[in-house]
């Protein structure tokens, strides 16, 4: 039977090293299957996060051969097996154990974002063409691969000043909701640090849901910030519009 070697990080936030495991290959096998095989046969305490194994929950993120991936959607037959396949935890977050990282910072950032608030007296009519672009943002499964790959977080560790692509996607979904009444541009500019993003599009490249994070979420939000804070006339127009529509 064909086999592959997985070189998996084992350790915690103080120390660790990679360990090799040989796994038998079966048709259609994904990296997460290989990790489960290791748990079931070699290392029962290997820490791995996963839930749906169907690419819908975004739990099983890791760096496979150096690329941020959902391990449940990364097929073994798409990887070269003549050398060990490396599987490491997400680099942008502190390791808890093995492949499990502490992603709690993301949940703290999320709490800062004001929730959806409907315009007054709405009749809840919405048309598909008006929500298509928002539905794209709502496909996000919070795998945090975009957070992992974003150099502002990965290389510069600006977690205090910068919210990361995931939360620009969330804000875009709220700001572009046809019935939302809240403005979040001050939050984007000040607390979420959208100015740090220099649109290298790394986040878009790794998104397993194919959300056009940079083009469809971040750039339009940057434009809104510019309109509100650096173009006084457009800023006033937008404010009046919001006031009128929420009457």
């Amino acid at each position: 039977m064909a086999e592959a070697v997985l070189r998996v990080f084992r350790g915690d936030n103080t120390s660790g090293s990679s360990q090799d495991f040989t796994v038998p290959l079966v048709p259609g096998m994904v990296v997460l299957d290989a990790l489960h095989h290791i748990q079931g046969h070699h290392a029962p305490d290997l820490a791995v996060r996963w839930n749906c194994k169907a690419g819908k929950c975004g739990s099983c993120s890791a760096e496979v051969n150096g690329r941020p991936k959902l391990t449940c959607k990364t097929r073994m037959d798409a990887l070269p097996t003549d050398q060990p396949i490396t599987v490491n935890p997400l680099k942008s977050f502190p390791v808890i154990k093995d492949l499990v990282t502490d992603v709690s910072w993301n949940y703290q950032v999320n709490k800062k974002i004001p929730a959806f608030q409907a315009k007054a007296n709405t009749d809840w009519k919405m048309y598909q063409k008006d929500i298509d672009r928002v539905q794209e943002f709502r496909k996000c499964i919070e795998c945090f691969l975009c957070q992992d790959v974003c150099h502002v977080l990965r290389d510069h560790d600006k977690k205090q000043e910068f919210a990361g692509p995931r939360f620009f996607v969330r804000v875009a979904g709220l700001e572009m909701h046809p019935l939302d009444a809240v403005s979040r541009t001050a939050l984007l500019k000040n607390e979420m640090g959208i100015g740090y993003c220099n649109i290298t599009k790394c986040c878009t490249e790794v998104c397993p849901e194919d959300i056009h994070i940079t083009d469809n979420a971040i750039i339009p939000l940057k434009e809104r910030v510019v309109d509100d804070f650096y173009d006084p006339i457009l800023g006033i127009v937008r404010k009046i519009k919001k006031m009128v529509s929420s009457d």
Binding site: Q39, P44, R49, N51, K97, Y107
Partner: protein
């Protein structure tokens, strides 16, 4: 006395953060209660995200003739009249309001041409009834509820697993658990507890369920002395992936059939014509699953032991827009383009109709202070659940359980923790590390799955079920000796040793109930008793702990009031 442990106090403790748990939390918060939500995974990852097709609610946006009466009748028909009719009644009446509420909290459903929530057809529903977002409705729902809960300020204890309920006399007063991150124990002191932990799919190897589905809540309730109801009814979804082996069991949404997908055997025959000529592919799940299984058993299955499901007669763009997840799932995991050719599908263990016995109005279990909602609770779906009725179940009864739990907490504030229960719970968790047996929990789990698949599957027979019960006894004995390696830090093996106890217990409840129900009804098909039995049609199975023994008894289904009988008697 509890100095050794971290203690958190809340009015209401909710175990499980899927749709039911989150909806319960939102309602309890609205009542002014202090609420804690505990979940085994990260927030937003619960299995509700996997729900694809939609939320059933008689909003009549597409088919204007629809109303709650028809939804009630469809649900009772689908459940073969074993349902708790009061739950089916409340569910049908309240589902539309619960969907509108989601929209008011920011959910964005697909729209009709005139700007309303779009609804699609689904098996067993007389009208186009499922409110949906492509094929990712569950994600939309869980994210909406999660955001709502966060904005209301609930406390979420993520990656924390509950192992025992704690009691003060008869009533439930909290729970004992551990943090997965570092393995330290934690106590929750709570005036009421809502169980919303989902089902037991992981006792079968071919399942659409995630690792969390290990019967935890049912086992917690049973061990605390609550009753379980109708445990024989396990739903096998007709369409899971069958090839390649790595993805076997992965769900293929019923929305494929809702959007016009056709089932064929390897001879090209549209075999549903034989089994349900009227409803065809949109028959109920029990019927479609048995039909596919029968085709395969009689030699008309596909190369990998399934049936063909084909939607490629629809325009490619339409398929990609309405079923985007399915398109990507098959493309990326099976090298199949569903806009160009058929999928291969077969039954996969999907849903537990049975569960904790609850009161319809409140979700109250048979112990004071304990509530349950969603898949962990039983009653609404009877012998077979209709697609789309699960998400609406979570919303309607999650809300009701949260409301009742908050009210109970207000009226019954005095509770005292009992040190001896805490000590026993701690002992139970630490003991596996001290064992010296030669096998770990993974081997036993594999054998449990094999047993359930072979002996307690879609078709059942007395000899198999007896065999299964004997095997479960020996698996239990092995589980008591199973060794756990490594430290307490984020240790999946240790966790599985705990989950295995729940799975073995609930599997036994399933097999015992299946053995005594000597008839075929809904999802329970007995080869030796292939017909309905009039007597069994009027009674539920109830399971309760009696010391170390599992006690099983029957109770008559409550008489339905005349106005509801009238609705059932009306033809469509």
């Amino acid at each position: 006395m509890t100095d050794r442990f971290e203690v958190h106090e809340h009015d209401v403790l909710i175990i499980g953060a899927g749709g039911a748990g989150l909806r319960a939390a939102i309602e309890a918060l609205a009542q002014g209660a202090s609420v804690g939500v505990v979940c085994k995974s990260l927030l937003g990852k619960a299995h509700t995200v996997m729900a694809e097709g939609g939320i059933a609610a008689a909003m009549a946006n597409v088919d204007t003739a629809d109303d709650w009466r028809t939804h009630f009748r469809d649900t009772m028909n689908g459940g073969k009249f074993l349902n708790n009719w009061r739950m089916a009644h409340l569910h049908a009446q309240e589902a539309p309001e619960r969907v509108r509420e989601l929209e008011q909290w920011g959910a964005l459903f697909d729209r009709t041409a005139d700007g309303q929530i779009l609804q699609r057809a689904f098996g067993g529903h007389s009208f186009k009834r499922l409110c949906h977002v492509g094929d990712r409705t569950g994600l939309e729902m869980i994210r909406t509820l999660q955001d709502r809960g966060v904005s209301l300020g609930f406390n979420v204890y993520m990656e924390c697993a509950i192992t025992r309920l704690l009691k003060d006399g008869d009533r439930v007063c909290g729970a004992f658990g551990y943090w997965r991150e570092h393995g330290r124990f934690v106590i929750f002191k709570a005036k009421s507890v809502v169980i919303a932990t989902g089902g037991i799919g992981k006792a079968w190897p071919i399942t659409s369920n995630s690792w969390e589905y290990t019967g935890d809540g049912m086992s917690l309730a049973y061990n605390a002395g609550a009753e379980l109801l109708d445990m024989e009814f396990v739903q096998f979804h007709p369409t899971g992936m069958v090839w390649p082996p790595g993805v076997q069991g992965l769900l293929v949404t019923e929305a494929v059939r809702g959007e016009g997908g056709i089932l064929r055997n390897k001879l090209g025959e549209r075999f549903m014509e034989k089994y349900d000529p009227k409803r065809m592919e949109l028959s109920t799940r029990d019927v479609v699953a048995r039909s596919i299984y029968t085709e395969v058993r009689e030699g008309r299955g596909t190369e990998h032991g399934g049936a063909f499901l084909d939607i490629s007669h629809k325009p490619a763009e339409y398929v990609k827009r309405k079923l985007p997840s399915m398109y990507h799932q098959f493309k990326e995991l099976a090298d199949v383009d569903i806009t160009a050719g058929p999928m291969e599908v077969g039954p996969t263990c999907h849903y537990m109709m049975g569960g904790i016995r609850v009161e319809a109005e409140t979700g109250a279990a048979t112990l004071p202070g304990l509530y349950a909602a969603g898949e962990a609770a039983a009653g609404l779906h009877g012998a077979n659940r209709l697609g789309g009725n699960s998400l609406s179940d979570l919303l309607v009864f999650g809300r009701r359980a949260g409301l009742a739990a908050a009210q109970f907490a207000k009226q019954n504030a005095n509770i005292t923790l009992d040190q001896s229960q805490i000590n026993a719970a701690e002992r139970e968790m630490l003991e596996p590390f001290e064992r010296t047996g030669d096998e770990g929990p993974y081997e036993i789990h594999r054998d449990l799955q094999e047993t359930m698949q072979a002996l307690v599957g879609i078709f059942r027979v007395e000899s198999d079920l007896k065999d299964a019960l004997a095997k479960l006894e020996s698996l239990k004995a092995r589980a008591e000796r199973a060794r756990v390696d490594g430290s307490r830090m984020f240790n999946p093996g240790w966790h599985l040793a705990k989950d295995l106890r729940s799975m073995l217990l609930i599997s036994e409840a399933v097999a015992r109930s299946a053995l005594v129900r000597k008839e075929s009804r809904g999802a329970h098909s007995r080869i030796d008793f292939p017909e309905y039995d009039a007597q069994w049609g009027k009674q539920n199975n109830l399971i309760k702990r009696d010391g170390e023994k599992m006690q099983l008894r029957q109770e008559p289904v409550k008489e339905m009031p005349d106005d509801l009988k009238q609705i059932l008697a009306e033809s469509k």
